[in-house]
């Protein structure tokens, strides 16, 4: 009786039933000690049609001694599949390789893999994969994404010069009070030039001039106050329009610490 018990004990411990494990445990069990078993023994660990002898880990090292499973680098579940990024040593060098598992007949089984292991640094935390995923699983992501309809709205006139706004905008470097990055604010203010051009055109201004606006930013970079502080352009509507543009411009660079007040001078030079 004792030999029989011992045999059953060994047999049971040597072949953990896949059904009792989660995907990660199945991956660790397979990749840590079974990769180089004969294909016939490995076949129950693979879905039908996926051949164990083609597992890249069996092909890229000369002998089992040159392979070592280190850890699971990343686990993701996509469409019912468990995508395991295995951290392994190949000839002593750490690499990662994606192997994915599917739940078939109550067990997690290997359903595919990426063919090329990538060098890795086990000392560094694994970065988030974001939207990246193994290429064989990627095509479904893009299925059914429709092209947007187009609307042709602008009617450019023949000469390119005439099509542009009849005024040249010059945004001067801001004067700042508080913990603001003047250069970053300057870059952001320059993105408002097209809107400022429209303000000048809509106000039917004819002469050039200078307008200085003030802007208060909260710690998040949101305008809490915007006003025209001085202007040489006494044209109805222009000041209101500029204030609206400045107040409506989202995401000004946030002050490094606390509040910030900005003064920006803008010059309007008619193109003639």
């Amino acid at each position: 009786m004792k030999p029989l018990i011992s045999f059953l004990f060994l047999a049971g411990c040597a072949a953990p039933p896949l059904a009792s494990q989660d995907a990660e445990a199945a991956a660790v069990a397979l990749l840590s000690s079974r990769v180089f078993e004969p294909p016939d023994q490995l076949r129950p660990w693979f879905v039908e049609g996926v051949e164990p002898e083609n597992l890249p880990l069996r092909l890229v090292v000369d002998s089992p001694a040159a392979y070592d499973f280190l850890d699971v680098q990343r686990l993701r579940m996509i469409d019912g599949r468990a995508i395991v990024t295995a951290l392994v040593a190949l000839d002593g060098e750490p690499h990662t390789l994606d192997v994915w598992f599917e739940h078939r007949n109550g067990a997690w089984k290997v359903a595919g893999w990426t063919h090329v292991p990538h060098p890795a640094d086990p000392a560094k935390p694994a970065p988030s994969a974001g939207a990246d995923l193994p290429v064989p699983l990627a095509s479904a992501t893009f299925r059914g994404d429709e092209a947007p309809p187009a609307l042709a709205l602008d009617a450019p006139s023949a000469p390119a010069e005439a099509a542009s706004a009849p005024v040249r905008i010059g945004v001067q470097r801001p004067q700042v009070t508080g913990a603001c990055d003047a250069a970053a604010l300057h870059r952001h203010a320059k993105t408002l030039e097209p809107a400022l051009e429209r303000c000048w055109a809509d106000a039917r201004a004819e002469r050039g001039g200078r307008l200085t606006f003030g802007l208060d930013l909260d710690p998040k970079g949101r305008p809490t106050g915007a006003r025209v502080e001085e202007t040489t352009l006494l044209v109805t509507g222009l000041g209101d329009c500029v204030e609206g543009v400045v107040r409506g411009a989202s995401e000004w660079p946030a002050p490094a610490d606390g509040l910030c007040t900005v003064r920006v001078a803008v010059t309007f030079t008619p193109k003639r």
């Binding site: 686990l75 974001g130 995923l133 992501t141 609307l151």
Partner: protein, 369 residues
Amino acid sequence: MTPAMNAGCAPTPARVMVRTVSRLLRCWLPWALLAACSAPPPDGLGTPSAVVTAVFGERFFDAQARSAHCEPSAAQALVLPGLVDAQRYQFLQIAELRRVDATTRAGTVAFAVDGWPLSIGVELRRQGDAWRLTAVDPPATQRRWLELVGALPRAPSARPWEGGLAGRDAVGRPTAAVLVVAFKDEVAVDGRPVAPGGLEAAVAEALAVRRRLAADAHATYRPHVALALAADAPASRQTGLAEAARRAGAEAVSLVARGAGGGPALLALARRTEAATADARDRVVRLQFAPDGVDLALDDRTRRVAFAGGTVDAAGIAAALQALTQGTPAPAGAVVAADGTTRHGEVIALLDACRAAAPHLALLAEASP
């Protein structure tokens, strides 16, 4: 054997019991051993994924069961079970668990509330042979996700969408559209917060990942960004984000809304192109908010639709569209102009009313000139 001889061996109750136990042991010991060595650790938490499933799965609303796998600080920080009920919550899957070091994993767990795929950040650490949940996203973050789901604008005519607010669909697949969520002070791209000023770079990077994937998979791909904002957000924020998305390379921009059943839906915006000549310009209905209603204009005709109870009157918009287009070729699109006081929800309501009344119309929302 005589009865006398047999009497000494007569089975006493104690002997019967010993024999029964012995037989049972002989029969069942191998199986018991087999089960013992093949089963997961006694607490079933030998892997991080087992812990995540135990905490966020079927027994999510059982505080005692949850806390068995959580550090006290994590159990306290996990406020989500108190914010939703079992009818609204659904555990989806492990979105990602990453190795930080040999004893630490970090990542995100996907779940759905009211059919909206969401995610929560988690951290797990190994203690001996078992893993435990040691941290989750702060309570404010958990509340914010739920708040946003309730605050999204409604658009019953919008196309149902598989995506959610974390850049993935319900089965964990990244959505074709890069998802930009702007809620209160936070902006996130594909579920990851973005630092102020970093939006365009983050969107460009997310588009680049999809472009490469699509190329490798030989799939057709159009750079697409979906914008999710609360209904009460300024419309200028939406138009600003749309412009930023286009500068980052997006060809298509869509607006995330609650569809007919309250689930995820997309309103696709048209791509604005420049007409080669004035004659090539598409005829569009222009919609502009007025103090007490909405002005619709097509060619030289206009109609005003008064607000119904302070909100957009969808039936009135439909009637005005019909009146404007009667006897003329069908317009190609509808363009909503949003000024500084317009709310995102109002723009969506107008777009939705146009889509419901005339499904062929290409829709566009722009900042008021």
